[in-house]
Amino acid sequence: MVEPAVTDALIAAHSLTREEYDRVVVILGRAPTYTELGIFSVMWSEHCSYKSSKVHLQTFPTSGPRILQGPGENAGVVDLGDGLAAVFKVESHNHPSYIEPYQGAATGVGGIIRDIFTMGARPIALLDSLRFGPLHEARNRYLMGGVVGGISGYGNAVGVPTVGGEVLFADCYSHNPLVNVLCLGMAQADKLFFGRAGGIGNPVFYVGAKTGRDGIHGATMASETFDERSEERRPTVQVGDPFREKLLIEACLELMRTDALVGIQDMGAAGLTCSSCEMASRGGTGVEVDVRLVPRREEGMTPYEVMLSESQERMLLVARRGTEEVVRGIFARYDLDAVVVGRVTGDGLMRVRDGSRIVAEIPVKGLVAEAPVYRRPTVRPAWQDEVQRLDLDAIPLPRDYGAALCRLLASPSIACKATVWEQYDHMLFVNTVVGPGADAVVLRLKGAEGGIALAMDGNGRYTFLDPFIGGVIAVAEAARNVVVSGAEPVAVTNCLNFGDPTRPEIMWQFTEAVRGMAAACQALQTPVTGGNVSFYNETTGKAIFPTPIVGMLGVLGHISHATTPAWKAAGDLVVLLGESREDLGGSEYLQVCHGMIQGRPPTVDLETERRIQRCCLEAIRAGVVRSAHDCSEGGLAVALAEGCITDPDRPIGVEVSVPGMLRPDALLFGETQSRIVVSLREADLGRLQAIADRHGVPVTALGRTGGSRFVCRGRTYHIDLSLAVLDQAWRGSLSAFFRHR
């Protein structure tokens, strides 16, 4: 067939600017063919090229004694000792999930799993960080139901447990929900695989599902904002097949136990195009593929369509010459296609053939290393001062502090998410020691004494009010969540969800948030091992809250250090580590009880943060504390209430008094950072005090566990509620929105 002529209109339809197109012509030394235009368009899309974020991401600390692989590969790798390595990464699937929530979320899960096993790791856990609009709107319930259904449907069937994550709600996500999925895999540290096309003449295999027309230009779609007609793009969303992916995992892991494999990469965004030229780029080689050889499930596909298809459950791999039969034999066992579609070359070119005809011939360097890089203009929004202004004197104190606490506990962002995570298999592989619902999940390491902890965190409201502080807190809180679970935070993966980067206000939010995250990662010694940037999260010009999501990996020296927020016995002391300030700015309380998204979020002194984390971890390791819980959304009162009711089998009351001269609502519901609530046997208070003194951490005894009521009183406030009332508020809230038929 004759390919369309490359016209200005066609160039614009491929989202390439005039300057970018001119650059293509310089790289090729001629005008591109239609197929070449398609290839450049996806490779230079924001999604694949990181052209607007690259210069900023380079400011993250990325190395450390435990880091075996930093950014640049399919996933980051962390050394766990004993020859074991943790492979992990987070990715977004926001745009597809808005257009088609079930399949969008499902294929998000499938994509990140492939990024993990491609490194030679068995995927053993998934977490997701989700953001939706308020649930009183039917469409948001539809989106959330679809996304949760997609994660459940795909994750359960593919055989990777979804062990945790978080779900938060705000108006700004109504037209742009966030679906960020993290996958963790376990590998032998000396048996890692990389996406490199090495060895000139080696065969390039296409394995997995057949190629269809689904998902063409998905990467480009993810690099544009939405409008009222976005639903018409449903055909660009791919359809996932978890069964096929399960077979692909097993077949690839089996192949990795042979010596046939040279390099391997998932065909994700931009499909065959991205996988082949990235592999060649990393290998310093070239690659030649013949689209005629690609297994297809639709007739009459053009080379352009084959190269740009984002059909799911496909991998590209390079095998050692002479091992072709080994590869074919393993994939045949799983009834999967494994076809040689090309070979590695030494000419540094990506050459695409359609039989004898060459339809694209592009220097790999031009596509990858010479892709455009932008330092886009930034400007602090004119409204920033306005949203930061907060006059506390104008905010009335609650009449009934108990009622305010119940409203906070019932706020969907704080409320129990069991109705969500009960739909996920969170126990497969029998590793889940602390499952969903705690500050972090804790998994044991089979055959070793230790374990790992994982948390995801990111507060869009804070980042909206102050992007730098929001970035700091995303890291600090994720680390704190891992610490209170008994683990030492060691490495970060992240997903940066922002609006349109060509708008200077958005770019300012981005650079500030990255600056905050980099500072916190530096101070807490948790290098960034990779991640994902998702721009263009806006619909009809209205952006989401800037939402950096941090995935924090922690290591437990011994699995017995695993700690949860729930009180363990009546009669224990309840103690606050850290200090409370008058931090109501940006709080859940201001939003829920006063309808305000206003003020400066709480600041974080990173040295103080570090000390309190060290202190808590030492106390856990010494066996001094029996429960530990981060004070976050909803403040101290919510943290104390959660201590009472998070263990459904064993609710335990509490009687406390929170001392301090602050306004009582700030004392109870303020969100000062660097605070941890712990409980301990009375006899251990001296030991805790000694540890805290050594770290310079203030210790405040609040009261004692026991009984079946939540009693919290001081000079200016008073709460006395039965645990049944708290439980109903917290546990009943979310399920009320999803009543079964």
């Binding site: 259904g149 399960k246 009834d335 009960e422 497969l428 592989f429 029998v430 089979k446 038929r741």
Partner: protein, 236 residues
Amino acid sequence: MRFGIIVFPGSNCELDCRWVLENVLGQQTELVWHKETALGDYDCLILPGGFAHGDYLRTGAIARFSPVMAAVERHARRGGLVLGICNGFQVLCEAGLLPGALLRNTTMHFLCRQVHIRVETAATPFTNACTRGQVLRIPINHNEGRYYADEATVARLTANDQVVFRYVTAGGEPTEAANPNGSLQNIAGICNEGRNVLGLMPHPERAAEALLGSADGRLLFASVLRSARTASATPR
């Protein structure tokens, strides 16, 4: 004892069963791929949880045609022990080795949570280390776990003491609230007339170590070991 764990494409609990049998109970296991047509000499076969053949069409509907199933049936007819867990239970029903069917949960969605089940009979090779009426805490993990059979079949199951587990409250009451999926008469597990084939929806291998929240599931495996040792307890 030698356990054969049948692996269908899409099974995913085979490694967990192997872990518990080998590392917790010190037994030998072998994974058996579904394309095998002859089985080695196993004391007990396990059909593990997961999504055999993607559970496409209907849970277990394609798996019953896997080549290995003829050998599983021969093993069962000879009186050999067969334990179907979750998806394995669904496959056994589809294959006709157990009566009834597993329908979609009445909640209309997947459910993964700890539940309580009551041992209704200790007179099986899978429950002889339990006592009748004993309440076990074992998690479920399924989308299609609602046991259903016609009246005559349920009457026969009851009369023959083939209902092995029922969903109950922590206190042991088979209430509607304790029934997570709408199963008929709270049925969580049944055996065949010969009592050598057991299917249950809860996952005993996920409750075999206190570290993970419950070790009650170990009793099922301990029962199998005990029945192998006691000649009188072997299947008729």
